[in-house]
């Protein structure tokens, strides 16, 4: 059963292990659970406000302004309800999801979600949060070419459409991010939010160029760098031939000899991405697939830091 009120952290799906969460049910159910848990953890609803257009009632909570108390209901039912008003949607968001073959990989199948599965659940939760805020949210999936384009909408039914697209997305072949990112322009006429979800095993120069372009167009850009824990730290002892599933490039090494230098290399790569993104006002978060979804959502939806 999903909890929508305050619950201990141990019971909140947004803070559970992603693999455990994914075992609880389908994409829709667990995403709702994750988002509910995430939202209940916030002190106040992030975007819901009190504008002119009435949206719904809810139970009074200490701290609510008394002027929004519905005195009529109080008079009839002797219960304290406050009126909520729907803000006007002023944000359009497009989530760009990498569905290349490398995203389908898991360093520990059965113990850690594949990157694509993790990304699907994360995007579902993120889009639900945004849609609940009445932000129009769209989705573009790509591998070596653009696979699907779902234009941004703010209706809750649109979220289910997004879920269907996500559920249908399968790992493709190579990775070509630039065309997908450029297709964002067609979906965002006004300034909006672009969330790029990828393992970033792609042409960094081209991808950064496209991201800079989006930023130049005034969009808020957020990069979620999805990594498997086994990609962060090399595991194993015996010599093996490591082969890239996309390019088929291979290298023969003994992991125990190279674990340290490899870790340094990955740190360097992440650091380069972070610096490059910060330099251009792009938000960057490295996400490993064993990170609870709530943690990622909190980081991703935190107010953007000032650009460097």
């Amino acid at each position: 059963m999903l909890h929508t009120d305050d619950t201990p952290n141990s019971a909140r799906l947004d803070l559970l292990d992603p693999l455990e969460v994914s075992k609880l049910g389908g994409l829709e159910i667990i995403t709702q659970g994750v988002v509910e848990g995430f939202l209940s953890g916030l002190h106040r609803s992030p975007r819901r406000g009190f504008s002119v257009e009435f949206a719904e009632h809810r139970m009074y909570q200490p701290g609510d302004e008394l002027r929004y108390v519905d005195w009529k209901i109080l008079g009839r039912n002797d219960r304290l309800y406050v009126k909520q008003f729907e803000e006007e949607t002023n944000l359009r968001a497009v989530i760009v999801c990498d569905t290349s073959r490398s995203m389908a990989w898991s360093g520990a199948p059965g113990a850690v979600l594949p990157k694509l599965a993790y990304a699907q659940r994360l995007i579902a939760a993120l889009s639900l949060v945004l849609i609940r805020q009445r932000d129009a949210t769209g989705l573009i999936t790509f591998d070596d070419e653009v696979r699907t384009i779902t234009p941004p909408r703010a209706r809750l039914s649109h979220w289910r459409q997004l879920l269907q697209v996500l559920a249908a997305s399968e790992a493709g072949h190579g990775t070509a991010a630039e065309p997908a990112l450029r297709r964002v322009i067609g979906q965002l006429r006004r300034r909006g939010l672009v969330v790029f979800v990828s393992d970033l095993l792609l042409d960094r120069t081209l991808a950064l160029k496209a991201l800079r372009f989006l930023r130049h167009r005034g969009h808020q850009v957020l990069v979620l760098h999805i990594m498997d824990p086994a990609e962060v730290s090399l595991v194993g002892t015996n010599e093996a031939r490591f082969e890239d599933p996309e390019s088929r490039a291979a290298v023969v090494i003994r992991p125990r000899d190279w674990a340290g230098p490899y870790r340094d290399t990955v740190r360097g790569v992440v650091s380069e991405w972070r610096l490059a993104c910060r330099r251009h006002g792009i938000g960057y978060h490295q996400v490993t697939t064993d990170t609870p979804f709530g943690v990622v959502l909190r980081e991703a939806l935190a107010p953007p830091s000032s650009p460097a």
């Binding site: 095993l201 290298v251 230098p261 290399t265 790569v269």
Partner: protein
Amino acid sequence: MISFLHPWVLVGLTAAAIPILLHLLARREPPTVVFPAVRYLVTTTREHQRRLKLQNWILLCLRTLLVVLLVLAAAAPSIPETGVAGHAPSALVLIVDNSPSSGAVGQGNPTFRQLITAARQVLGRATPQDALWLISADGIPRRGDRTALDDLLRGLTVSPRRLELGSAIALADEVLGPEPRPGEIVLLTDLQSSALSPAQPSAPLIVGRPDGPSPANAGIGEINAGSQPWSSDGGRVTITLVGDSGPGLPVSARLDNRPASQALGHPGGSTSLDLAGAPSGWWELTAELDPDELRADDRRVMAIRVAPVARVNWDSTSRYVAAAAEVLASNRRIVRGQEVVLGRLGSGASVVQPPEDPARIGALNRVLASRAVGWSYGELSTEPQFSDSGTVVGRQRVLRRYTLQPTGSGRTGVLATVSGTPWIVRGGDVVLLGSRLEPAWTELPVSAGFMPFMDVLLNRLARGEHSFTEAAAGDPVRLPDLVSEVRRGDRSWRVEGGGVFRPAETGVHFLLAGRDTIGALSVNPDPRESQLTRASDAQAGRLWRGARVVSLRQVGGAAFSSASRGDLRAPLLWTALLVGLIEAGFASGWRRRA
């Protein structure tokens, strides 16, 4: 100089290649792992490849060094310790090569004197706790303390015996075998290249040799007196000179104190001299050269027997025998007389042909038996065969022959054979021929070797042969069966016939059977002693692994170095331990960092 107690262990150095070989042999295709972030691995390996290679090289070097150190330690190396005044109790065998070549005088300094001086220096470093032996050219290891060996050295002279250096080293090594003390062999020699022979001593070997080049030398290598006995008309000797080539040298030869004959000879060549006749008897032939740097080989002796030619009674009806006898008589190799009967059995010495009539064989055999000749005629064989080459007669075609059968217990006196069966035999003073000396029986009478055969047959075989033997001093000589005494000048040795006699001195030794002289043994220096050319230090090093070759002047200081040698095993093992720790530290450190 490093020496090893167990040098064969050094073969284990090849084990240093085992880590590399194992790595290469065990190399196989590794399993494939799908890994999307290969680009990070490529970047990592590209950036760290050089460092990793260096690490691997360092590890490989350390591991190889470890193996090498352990193998070297197992070979028990040692080095001489300088500045050590004394030495630990040692066993030392001193070999003094006082062979004839040591009598050479180079630059006014006799080699033998240098050897003795060096030997005294070696003994001077000995302590009462040392076990000492002395081996000279006689090949007998003599043990004694420093004083005793010094006395032996004082009595040592240039020996006529040759010393095989390899054998002497092997003997010294055997002497040191049971010794618990560290052993050492010191060889003092002129390092004559012809005396070198291989040896693998387990004890350290120090070789002391003279400085400077070896002196030039020429000597008499061989005397050939031809067929003996000589007649009273004299004879011819051929003298071969050996040694370094040079101008012609005057060579003289004489019988005892009779006037000498002289000729000019060249080293490497031969020269012939005719000697005037002498009365019947045994003579000592002496060939001499003018004195040079090595006196021992300037004189060579040989025994000569002079006897009158045989007095022969031959049968004029036997055409070929009569013709040969006539020729020999005309050349004064025989005279008519009754000493030897040729062709039939006489009352004295006889050369017997088988009768033409087979019916007379039985009668002949009966007479032979009554004379106790020990041989008789058997069946007639008409199968053409060839005689076996021998000293008496060469290979001749034999068409008919009687088999010769021994009638006694033994089978002695066979002088020639056909297909291994007796053809010419001697029993007592009777010589039996298996075939008649006619072309219908054998081709011998019409061959070139017939006249020399008849000469030998009549002058030597029929009259009883004498033994002429040549040997070098110290060589074992098997004596003829009848010899009971060996006499040289005033000295004599009682011997057993058929036994071995080792002449200690040069000169002519007469072999006596009772009061009769039945042969002579001519003892001279080994001709190889005349070649004074010295072997190089490298040659000695190749033949005797680990040998340290030094000047005779330095050998005193080099002796007993095995006892004052530093054992390198402990430092090597400590270094190996250190290397092992460094290797383990490096390997685990790098792995931990990785």
